[in-house]
Amino acid sequence: MDRRIVITGMGLVSPAGDAADLADAVRAGRSAVAPIRQFDASAFPSSIGGEIPDDFDPSNGVRKEQRRYIKKNTKVMSRDILMGLGAANRAILDTGLPIGDDGQPPLPTIDHARFGMVFGTSFIPTTLDDLAGPVRAAQADAEVNLNDWGAKGIPQMFPLWLLKHLPNMHACHTGVLWDAQGPSNSLTCSDAGGLVALDEAVRIMARGIANLMLAGGAESRVSPLLLMRYALLHRLVTAAEDPASASRPFDRDRLGWVVAEGAAAVMLEFRDAAEARGARIWGEVLGTGVSTMTGGINACDADGRGVALAVRRALDAAGVEPADLGAVYAHGPALEQQDRGEAAGLAAALGDAARSVPVTATKGVTGHMGAVSGLADLAVACHLARDGLVPPILNCHTPDPEVRLNLVTGEAREMKGDLVLVTTNAIGGQTAAAVVRVNR
């Protein structure tokens, strides 16, 4: 039996739009970063972001009763969850599997006990307005003592408030909507979440307990609380006058992260089953690797060792030599310590091939979508590989001389072969990489 695992569906919700839209924006070097619209961010040190289009609808293409479920439950779905569900729906629809008619079980041709999912997510910060009423009831001179909170605040709260913030709710709602009774996990590995989810989804299939897995990632960093957090940690762009040029991966004059939001999902099947049903195959997951940094919670390995280990593990699992890679989609969030650590790790893992393999990054276009990162890059890579292109890094005009990689700047390059490496890393934490053979 063929145990090779292929991607048969992709769904993306990004500041530039869906997967094809983002691929176009990356190819054209068109930034999706703008002043934040969701709330007045003018008093924050950083007030720009990559926000998803206003017309985003998680229900596009799904069945009537599914649309009803989403509508009914929107009050318990924070933005992260809605985007995650939207990307998952797009990925499932993209597989071309029959979704069934209204009144019938969804996805009538699959074995629901063997359909599972792994999401990379984050603990979701509260919406400020949800606490406005309770705080008003409990506060005195802008302070809230706990006795007043208990007596006057709590009764004003939305009863299902907690459910809006749990990191496993993306998978929960997606599972309910599509009757996915297989394994369900939600990995909170910050920036690395999406690729770590891919790693686990692939391993679960190899274990023999699932034959259809969704690997997803969803996060919005465009929220007052995360803007606060990351501004205080000095991770954000504060100086850029022009939003479109603010996110500068691997550039000498980089300015930090631009917060962004989105969600991505891929559907995985065994190759023989996918071919038997005549599915469109986006690519094959050849190998994944996960490791971690050890320098402390706010530090990246200066030598990039955590990144290098994840990359080597992915290459080894794939049985791929670095020199055979056609493109590397790096994390490149445009923060000095994170970019340099990643570059050092990539250089170490690629060895001599670091001089020749083209390395690109997409955050110049989108800003930093957190846990979505690696999977969004995978979607872009699958789209652009069909045109044989490795896109340039937007806003990387003067490559950081410390970065000893073959960065793609200015013009797109022709892609050799069909092997793509995608990497992500969380500051002070998890690192992940995947090697994918894209279908050209």
Partner: protein
Amino acid sequence: MTRRVVITGIGTANPLGMTVEESWQGLLAGKSGIRPIFIFDASTFPTTFAAQVADFDLADYVRNPDEFTRAGRNVRFAMAAGRRAMEDAGLLEAQVDTDRFGIYLGSGEGVLDFQTLVHSIAVGLNDSGSVDTVRFAQAGLQRYDAFSELEQEPNMPANHLAHEYGLRGPAYSCLTACAASTQALGEALDLIRTGRADLMLSGGTHSMIHPLGVTGFNLLTAISTEPKDEPWRASRPFDRDRGGFVLGEGSTIMILEELEHAQARGARLWAELVGFGTSADAYRMTDIHPEGRGPAAAMQMALDDAGVRPADVDYISAHGTGTQENDRVETLTIKLVFGDEAYKTPVSSVKSALGHLIAAAGATELMTCVLAIRDQVLPPTLNLDTPDPECDLDYIPHTARQAEVEVCLSNSFGFGGQNDCLVVRRFVP
């Protein structure tokens, strides 16, 4: 051939103690860890009690306590339990390949800075009932602390542990509510079996005993509110008059190790982790499937993975939260999977004494299974005073019981529908 995986170290920080032995002796003696909340003033909250970890000095457990000044209780518990697990496994001095030593935690978020949040919101209040984000930002920037904010992220316990012990193996952090640490241990088992690691530091850590945590659970009416004057009676799994779970907090960390690796370095073998089952209900956000479809699938998968039949199972550590619905459905599910054996298989819920450690619950309960195998004694379900006709299994009420214990099943079912089960057995060469 499948690589076998053994437990070679255990550490814990829970409401009944800071050591494995102290908490185990407490459980066997029928002690309860549930007290009035002392971490913050909850006197006007609907729920005023919880199972809390007593104060301890982190300096006893880490190289540099200064690195933890902003850390939440989740991180502090994980560092304490992690240190004891590493010590117990003899790994503090041992030469092992840290590139093949991974981490997989079921790990909760840090403790939200409640006062700063509500102050900044209060400053930003608009007449329209919303929050002005300009005034919010101005107030927040004065008060929020960068590192306290960073420590909120749920991967912080894993990141601190990776740093403390220099572990470079595959590293994961999951948060599938009440099932998280069982899921973490199960996936860690797979990472060793498939050769991606030789050692895994795995388990869970969590505290939701903070103002917004208790608020959130009170709103969902998931946690018990009575009796306030005798809170140790509030957690009553399988009792007819059960009224929800009691929040607990803490961490249990285990060292999982490939058998030959453990034997080669002469490690003590606590038990063998032999089976993992995992599924989703795909039913509703907070309700379990009424026929226990998902839990049954996970239990069956764990038994199959372990290669054991229901008759081989000597004890089931129930999820047993003490909510009406969980305990009824879990009982039904055990009958579904175990058939006639259900009535012959003792079941108990240590949540009756420890409260519900949420993301740390599963690992803590697996610890009690390992100890049951070591000592041939089963921990009781406290407060089971009035049987519920729908819960008619042998729940080991009130007092611990001597028994022959070779194989145990540990159940965890999470809010949101994740079901995870582990099978652990006495190590037999």
